[in-house]
């Protein structure tokens, strides 16, 4: 279990890292996803936009292994994958920053960063936590992304909303992940903290991670992303290069004023 691989940086920009093809998923009679196809390229920030209930979260939950699709295929990093649990997606290199952040407040920053990926010494029942190694590793993860966190030994309870978000992103960025999925990372943050987290997302991209960003904030999407996919009523209705589209067009696609 090593931290930070830099092998992604060697990847030429723009390779398709994640390819979702013809994905469908129904919950009972509710068709949550209908024939959805999207691509996420390495070294890019890909935005996923759409109204509430359009299926954005469901789509990323399938990619992250929370739900399993009824139909369709997912190719990740050149291999066809079918995740049945979040661990499997995680092992493959897909990390998710959940909307609720999935941090344990009474544990320290380093404990959260290494939660369920603890570094241990010894064998079998006599394995013990290598706390010093993990603290140092956590410090490295935090400083690599220049995250503003008081100390890795402080409990998450003492952190502000933005700092918590940063810790959650930090965790997703560590452990040689290739794709980081973020579900509304700045929804609960103030202006300054939002700016900090946006910087962090850009830094993730520069580090070589692919980022799949769900956001309701069009300015943010236009500012950060390289590619935008628009979802409406369980379908992916359009995909645009951000540089070649406008906020108005995206809004039109979301509402259906412009047919995808």
């Amino acid at each position: 279990m090593t931290t930070h691989s830099t092998e992604q940086q060697a990847r030429p920009m723009g390779d398709v890292l994640l390819e979702v093809d013809g994905l469908s998923l129904s919950f009972g009679s509710v068709r949550a996803l209908a024939d959805v196809s999207v691509q996420v390229r390495a070294g890019e920030i890909t935005a996923l936009v759409g109204d509430n209930g359009a299926g954005k979260s469901t789509l990323v939950r399938v990619v992250a292994g929370v739900h399993t699709a009824d139909e369709g295929t997912i190719r990740f990093d050149g291999e066809t994958v079918a995740f049945h649990a979040p661990d499997q997606a995680r092992d493959a290199g897909i990390e998710t920053v959940h909307q609720n952040l999935a941090l344990v407040e009474d544990l320290t920053v380093w404990q959260n960063l290494y939660l369920n990926r603890e570094i241990t010494g010894g064998v079998g029942p006599f394995s013990y936590l290598k706390k010093r190694t993990m603290r140092a590793g956590a410090q490295e993860m935090v400083s690599k992304l220049a995250v503003n966190v008081p100390a890795v030994t402080s409990t998450v309870r003492r952190l502000s909303g933005g700092q918590r978000q940063a810790v959650a992103i930090c965790r997703a960025a560590g452990f040689s992940s290739k794709l980081v999925i973020m579900d509304e990372p700045t929804a609960a943050l103030g202006v300054q903290e939002t700016a900090r987290v946006e910087e962090l997302i850009l830094r993730l991209r520069d580090e070589g991670h692919a980022v799949l960003l769900i956001s309701h904030n069009f300015d943010q999407v236009m500012r950060l992303s390289d590619q935008v996919w628009v979802m409406r009523a369980g379908r992916c209705v359009a995909g645009r290069r951000t540089a070649e589209t406008s906020g108005e067009e995206i809004v039109g696609l979301i509402t259906g004023a412009i047919a995808g």
Binding site: A85, V104, L107
Partner: protein, 325 residues
């Protein structure tokens, strides 16, 4: 758990800073309470700190300490084990029956621990997999385990005569009884498991936030089953010490052990909402409760006042945790 190494220059102010934190008082409540209690009782009656009385207190605290450690694991996952004392009773009867049927001490001890583990497994399975509330499951187990103890023993105490057991309960190194050493060994082991293994971290994470733990792939159902199993195993171990001390396996309910085990944990600063606490806290909590009972007896206060005193102390400790939020 992680010792923050402050530079010496700021240590004084850091200590003052810590003293202002309510969490400091919650964490150290049982230790401070014990020191205060010892001071008061010694002032009122110097015999309280005589070597004989210290030995008696340590001896009396061993069983409660072991139960409190088991209860701590469960409460750290935001659960509760109401069956812990009945499980001990059931295991004691199983132990007594094994001894009287000539199974030998080692095998009988194994049977006692296995009996406790069995109740713990059933509890854990029903709570983690069955999705039934911990309160109801362990309340049911409380009744079922004491019922089983009564059925197996036909309601009569089983006298257990064993030289090694007698030696275990009566002997020791100077003022330190063997049984107390066993309890401390259990506590040290529990502390290491809780704070120095991935399992321990996952126990704290499960209690702190089930959702967050699951999102990172922690098998929270397994963790829940494991803590009830630990509580059951420790109840089985406590059963052996109980039989050694009493000289017989009594099918009596032992409800004070249940209340005191929860009380020791609460006194020890373990959050009833889970995810936060220590092992040393509940150990000192168990010592405090034992010292309280011993001191009151020494002062000639009627033993009817003891439950009243325990109740006041526990609610007072719980009141402290209120300010921590």
């Amino acid at each position: 758990m992680t010792t923050t190494t402050a530079p010496p220059a700021t240590r004084g102010s850091a200590l003052a800073d810590r003293l202002r934190q309510p969490s400091f008082w919650v964490e150290w409540a049982s230790v401070i309470g014990l020191v205060v209690l010892v001071a008061i009782f010694t002032a009122l009656d110097p015999r309280f700190l005589s070597s004989g009385n210290i030995k008696a207190m340590l001896l009396a605290s061993a069983i409660l300490t072991i139960l409190a450690v088991g209860q701590s694991f469960v409460i750290l996952t935001a659960g509760i084990d109401l069956s812990i004392a009945s499980t001990m009773t059931f295991a004691a009867v199983a132990f007594g029956m094994a001894m009287t049927s000539g199974k030998g001490l080692a095998l009988s001890c194994l049977i006692a621990v296995a009996a406790g583990a069995a109740v713990g497994l059933v509890n854990g399975f029903l709570i983690a997999k069955g999705g039934i509330t911990d309160f109801i499951v362990t309340l049911g187990a409380l009744s079922a385990a004491s019922g089983l103890a009564l059925i197996l023993s036909d309601g009569r105490p089983i006298t257990v005569i064993s030289a090694p057991l007698f030696k275990l309960s009566a002997g020791g190194f100077g003022m330190i009884p063997y049984t107390f050493l066993i309890a401390i060994a259990v506590a040290v082991l529990a502390h290491l498991v809780l704070f120095s293994t991935p399992f321990g971290t996952h126990v704290l994470a499960t209690g702190g936030s089930v959702d967050a733990a699951q999102a990172t792939g922690v098998r929270t159902a397994r963790i829940k089953m494991a803590v009830y199993l630990i509580a059951g195993v420790l109840a089985g171990l406590a059963a052996i010490l109980l039989v050694a001390r009493v000289g017989s396996a009594e099918p009596a309910a032992n409800t004070t052990f249940l209340l005191n085990s929860v009380a020791a944990v609460v006194l020890g600063g373990v959050s009833l909402f889970g995810g936060k606490g220590s092992i040393k806290g509940p150990v000192f909590g168990a010592l405090l409760l034992t010292a309280l009972a011993n001191g009151l007896t020494l002062l000639g206060v009627s033993q009817f006042y003891q439950p009243l005193a325990v109740g006041i102390v526990v609610v007072g400790a719980a009141f402290l945790t209120r300010f921590e939020k």
